[in-house]
Symmetry: C2
Subunit: 124 residues, 2 copies
């Protein structure tokens, strides 16, 4: 499986979780499963990654939690987006567009491997 390096994902886990919660309330354990299904074969996040991010987001009032007894008899902590969470998700999407633009412009894709034009100040 192609794995993402830790750094590559940095700062984007929050956006991923916000996007998942946009589909409707969910809880930690299910979020981990959903994420790994949605990004099948590419991404694999553990609970040790997701739970701390959820608490961080709760502190920032992006999501709020409510305990509920599920049909299977388990206690689950359901999270849902706050208005601020929705706004943050929108901002995250804009940030992603910007990053994507920069990376495409400067780094280019894996396919476009022809040499870039010379940079002012560079020497041969």
């Amino acid at each position: 499986m192609t794995r993402l390096s830790k750094q590559a994902l940095d700062g984007n886990v929050e956006a991923l979780l916000l996007a998942i919660l946009e589909s409707g309330p969910s809880y930690g354990y299910a979020i981990v499963k959903d994420l790994n299904v949605r990004a099948e074969g590419i991404l694999r996040l553990g609970e040790g990654t997701v739970y701390p991010v959820l608490y961080r987001m709760e502190d920032k009032k992006l999501i709020i939690a409510k305990w509920r007894l599920a049909e299977n008899g388990r206690q689950r902590k359901y999270y849902r987006l706050t208005p601020k969470g929705h706004r943050t998700l929108a901002a995250s999407r804009r940030q992603w567009e910007v990053l994507s633009t920069v990376m495409t412009k400067v780094v280019g894709s894996a396919e476009r491997l022809s040499p870039q034009p010379k940079v002012k100040g560079a020497v041969s």
Copy 2:
């Protein structure tokens, strides 16, 4: 100016620098300028960001440095890619493709704001 948050860029600065050096050898001060020109109005990296990354890359043998006296009488520390640096850049491009795929699939773009299909396990 739309600024990228610190975290959004995390792990990608190395790829940016590798890509710039792919165009030919350059030195810290010029790299900072080039980067800010190439990503005009979007990205603004300081020297405090770039120099440490260059040292890190040098430690990892991705680039090698050579002092040279420039035409303007200044000493400049020119960096160029090693073979390992070229391979790492190629790997970074693949990583970017993967991340891009995941983010597009899960988070979606800023334009596609229609509701996502329900996730298994989510509640209304």
